[in-house]
């Protein structure tokens, strides 16, 4: 099977990798790219654990072919922190205990960051509906929603 060579940008860095045409972006991230922060919870776009951004747009990496990354910019969980500086969302999640097992956390953080970039002042309802595509089985969502709302408030007052 002939592999395709893909050139793309991931978390601001130029990257190249080989993949089969039928493989998903999630397969490419977790395989040749060695970026295992995005998780496979279902493989069918129903749980959000594989969430990334594609040219700034929140998508499930399991629903995108790896070859589609050609010439695009991809953002993954590994790109949220800058060096050892955690993103305010990451820091808040730790302070508020907004995770337990943590498997959904990368997807939730990528989704929450995308929300705050689009809507810096969401209501609780808006946060809940935006995160509806990120399943969490441990937390019951309460602390996740609170952490996102608090971070939004912090980021607004810092701006």
């Amino acid at each position: 099977m002939a592999k395709v060579h893909v050139t793309t940008t991931i978390n601001g860095e130029p990257e190249e990798f080989l993949c089969e045409p039928h493989q998903s972006m999630l397969d490419a991230l977790r395989g040749p790219l060695g970026l295992t922060g995005s998780k496979e919870g279902c493989g069918t776009g129903d749980c959000g654990a594989c969430s990334i951004t594609l040219d700034g747009r929140l998508v499930c990496s399991c629903l995108m072919l790896a070859v589609e990354a050609e010439g695009k910019t991809i953002g993954t969980i590994e790109g949220l922190a800058q060096g050892d500086h955690l993103h305010p969302l990451q820091q808040k999640f730790l302070e508020w205990g907004a995770l337990q097992c943590g498997i959904c956390t990368p997807g939730v953080l990528v989704a929450a960051k995308a929300l705050l970039e689009k809507n810096p002042d969401p209501t609780e309802t808006e946060v809940r509906f935006w995160l509806a595509g990120n399943l969490c089985r441990c937390t019951g969502y309460d602390k996740i929603v609170r952490a996102v709302l608090e971070t939004a408030a912090d980021m607004r007052s810092a701006a």
Binding site: D46, L94, I103, C138, Y141, D142
Partner: protein, 753 residues
């Protein structure tokens, strides 16, 4: 309330594994690779029930890229007439669960496994395996499995002398229920059903296993017990435990389900046969089809009371669906359903029914929620008919210290009453609720209580002081919900040093002593005990070394705020010696400073919870939504409040899904129709409100920090609390879960006729 002002215990510190979890660096079961690794895939039965006449793997073995093939003949055979227990599991059933032997017992049952150079070749090879099945009629639902002429799954299972699908029973009794009911002024009997529901962990099972040429096995996987992984793999493959090292990955949710394994033994044999490390990852579909959801159930509960509300008799008959092999969690409904209450006459009977679906695995207080659903709904009806407040009723009948539980234990300092009193006083209970807020919408409020045994069990910990005077703690249990955070708090508190100087790691089977499963709401409880004892031993060593330096008696040394100090003015005037000072001198003073403890911990007391919930119903569409939820529970001592609250909130939301939208649906061929997260409907973020955890901290006197196990009680009352609230809204009692819109709609339409 525990009024000790603690510096670290009870503080919301940053968990030791936190940075890795929020940056995507934490390694879960599927994140590992080993050099030379190949991939394994499982061939699964397309039939719900079939004899396996033969399996021909020859074509698969010849496919280029295939390195090994495994069937049941490569695994240890456990004859069905000789029990081989491991904890609550039996290897006769575990061996047949991981790979079919005589029969395919459910759609999705593993028949063979293949290891090949990549997943696609492995999957292609599976298709080349030729299996000669004799398809048999199947039965999945309890009624279908126990009716006359039902297809019998196992000819070795007999009940009342005849071949049967009832594989076992359990009875707890006290007093004489017939006499009790005769004394009652009111007796209510109802039958309830629940569907199988899956634990729904987001991380599918996965493992990477390497087997060297001299037979040493290394297993990387996530589980609720790396020692269980080692033991089960040893039993099922025949490799000795000392030749197996099980390394715990971070675990992406378990809720009881990962207290057993499916892949590791298969990967081990594939690795042995191929000489290559083998990685196996379940798809979500495989998880839903072939790992154990909990039992579906049919429960008949009859309760009798006097008109002043005194409970006089209770009878429960609980049929639980075991799945393909024996082992429903009968002790859950049989032992827990009536235990919050003092009832002088109880007869509680459970039946373990096998049927052609995947074998159950434990799910958070296994069996207890479905029994509490039945009992707490009947109690609600009794309160309604007697005109009594349901929480006052619970107070009146509550279990007390010194009484004997129906399952045999004598209650210690239990705190059920306190949860009820706290619920009574909570603003939620008296908050105004407009039951008819707008046309077509109704609201209601319900309460329920619940009980879970909790457990202690074996645990090991090692506390070592590093050469630079900081602390490395190794524990033996996987961390499912933040136990490392609690352990760090305890250690920092005891040593009197800054929390940031403690690192907490989870050991593997080679590097830490035996520790039992993460389950039974026991990890924080048990780990805290052994970490406390280890830390106290370390403090003893530190004091003894300070004493030698000062040439005084060790009894004249205290340890405070991270330093050894003379105990009083008579001991002498010496400047304090810090942890760093003593660590620097360790080698010249006798060697490394550290201590371990391995114990079978005891002193766990049961968990009680009392919940209040408000629901809203869109009557025409028959959609039930939760508006407000308050969950009261005595946690003993919240070592790390955020993670204790989180356990309560998470358990409640799992219960909401179980009550309203989750259920296994099978087609006529016995195939699961909703084997994914689209149609197996777990609550999403927008489905639920904030969940208020009301934590009482009444210290458990048998625990060094007063901890009570918290993880399981939160799910127990939810099914009944919601059903009672729906009754309050609609005036109709529901006995069958989930309260899905088509079901609620049909019931409302039937009532209207």
């Amino acid at each position: 309330m525990n009024v000790i002002a603690n510096k670290w215990i009870g503080q919301r510190t940053i968990r030791p594994d936190g940075a890795d979890k929020v940056t995507g660096r934490a390694c879960y079961a599927a994140d590992n690779t080993m050099p030379g690794m190949i991939w394994g895939k499982v061939l699964r039965s397309p039939h719900a029930h079939a004899l396996i006449r033969s399996i021909d793997t020859s074509k698969a073995e010849k496919l280029p890229g295939v390195k090994a093939v495994v069937t049941a003949k490569d695994l240890v055979d456990f004859p069905v007439d000789k029990p081989v227990p491991l904890g609550i599991q039996d290897m006769r059933w575990m061996s047949r669960n991981i790979m079919a032997r005589e029969k395919a017992l459910f759609h999705g049952h593993p028949i063979a496994a293949v290891a090949a150079i990549n997943e696609e070749v492995a999957a292609e090879a599976c298709k080349l395996i030729e299996v000669d099945y004799e398809v048999l009629p199947h039965a999945i639902e309890i009624e279908d499995a126990i009716k006359p002429h039902a297809p019998i799954l196992h000819d070795f299972v007999r009940f009342e002398g005849k071949p049967s699908n009832i594989a076992g029973t359990m009875v707890n009794k006290v007093g004489d229920v017939e006499a009790g009911f005769a004394e009652a002024d009111i007796v209510i009997e109802r039958t309830f059903t629940t569907r199988p529901v899956h634990q729904g962990y987001i991380e599918p099972q996965a493992c990477t296993v390497s087997c060297t040429a001299d037979g040493k096995v290394t297993i990387w996987s996530s589980s609720q017990g790396q020692f269980m992984v080692r033991a089960m793999t040893s039993f099922l493959t025949g490799i000795t435990q000392s030749n197996i090292r099980a390394i715990p990955a971070e675990i992406g949710g378990g809720f009881g389900a990962k207290t057993i394994i499916y892949l590791e033994p298969l990967a081990t044999v594939l690795a042995k046969k191929s000489g290559r490390p083998v990685k196996m990852v379940m798809t979500r579909e495989e998880v839903m089809r072939a790992t154990g959801p909990t039992s579906g159930s049919r429960s008949t509960v009859k309760i009798g009371a006097k008109k002043d509300g005194t409970l006089v008799a209770a009878q429960g008959t609980f049929y639980l669906q075991a799945g393909a092999l024996p082992g429903s969690p009968l002790r859950g409904p049989v032992g827990c359903s009536f235990s919050p209450y003092y009832i002088p006459n109880i007869l509680s009977t459970g039946y373990d029914v096998v049927s052609n679906r995947s074998k159950v695995a434990a799910y958070r207080a296994p069996g207890a929620p479905l029994g509490a659903f039945a009992a707490e709904c009947v109690i609600d009806e009794i309160c309604e008919k007697l005109g009594l407040d349901p929480l006052e009723f619970r107070l009146k009948n509550s279990s007390k210290e010194g009484q004997k539980a129906v399952y045999g234990a004598t209650f210690g300092k239990i705190t059920f009453e306190e949860t009820v009193e706290a619920a009574l006083k909570h603003p939620h209970y008296k908050a105004p609720l407009d039951k008819n807020p707008r046309p077509g919408v109704k609201r209601g409020r319900g309460v329920a209580s619940g009980f879970w045994f909790n457990a202690g069990g074996e645990s090991s910990a090692q506390v070592n002081i590093t050469e630079d005077g900081n602390v490395a703690v190794t524990t033996g249990h996987p961390d499912v919900g933040g136990s490392r955070a609690s352990i760090a708090n305890v250690t920092a508190e005891l040593l009197g040093i800054d929390h940031s100087r403690i690192s907490v790691l989870i050991g593997d089977t080679a590097s830490i002593g035996f520790s039992n499963l993460t389950g039974g709401s026991r990890v924080t409880f048990a780990s805290a005990i052994v970490v406390t004892q280890s830390t106290e031993k370390v403090i003893g060593q530190l004091k003894e070394r300070a004493a030698r330096i000062w040439k005084i008696d060790p009894d004249a040394v205290t340890w405070e705020n991270g330093e050894a100090r003379p105990a009083g003015p008579n001991a002498g005037k010496f400047p304090p010696l810090s942890l760093e000072d003593l660590a620097a001198k360790a080698n010249e003073m006798g060697g490394p400073i550290g201590a371990g403890t391995q114990l079978n911990t005891t002193g766990a007391d049961p968990g009680f919870a009392t919940h209040i919930v408000d629901v809203e119903v869109d009557v025409d569409l028959a959609i039930v939504r939760v508006l407000r939820y308050s969950a009261v529970q005595d946690v003993g001592r919240a070592l790390h409040p955020s993670y204790v609250e989180g356990q309560i909130q998470g358990g409640v939301v799992q219960g909401i899904g179980w009550a309203l939208s989750e259920e296994y649906l099978f087609d006529k061929q016995g195939k699961l129709e909703n084997a994914g997260f689209l149609d197996y409907r777990m609550p999403v973020c927008s489905d639920v409100p904030m969940i208020e955890p009301v934590m009482l901290e009444i210290p458990n006197p048998k625990h060094p920090q007063g901890v009570r196990g918290v993880g399981e009680a939160p799910i127990v009352p939810v099914l009944a609390a919601i059903t009672n609230a729906v009754h309050d809204a609609l005036g109709k009692r529901f006995c069958d879960l989930p309260l899905s819109p088509p079901r609620v709609s049909a019931a409302l339409d039937a009532a209207a006729e």
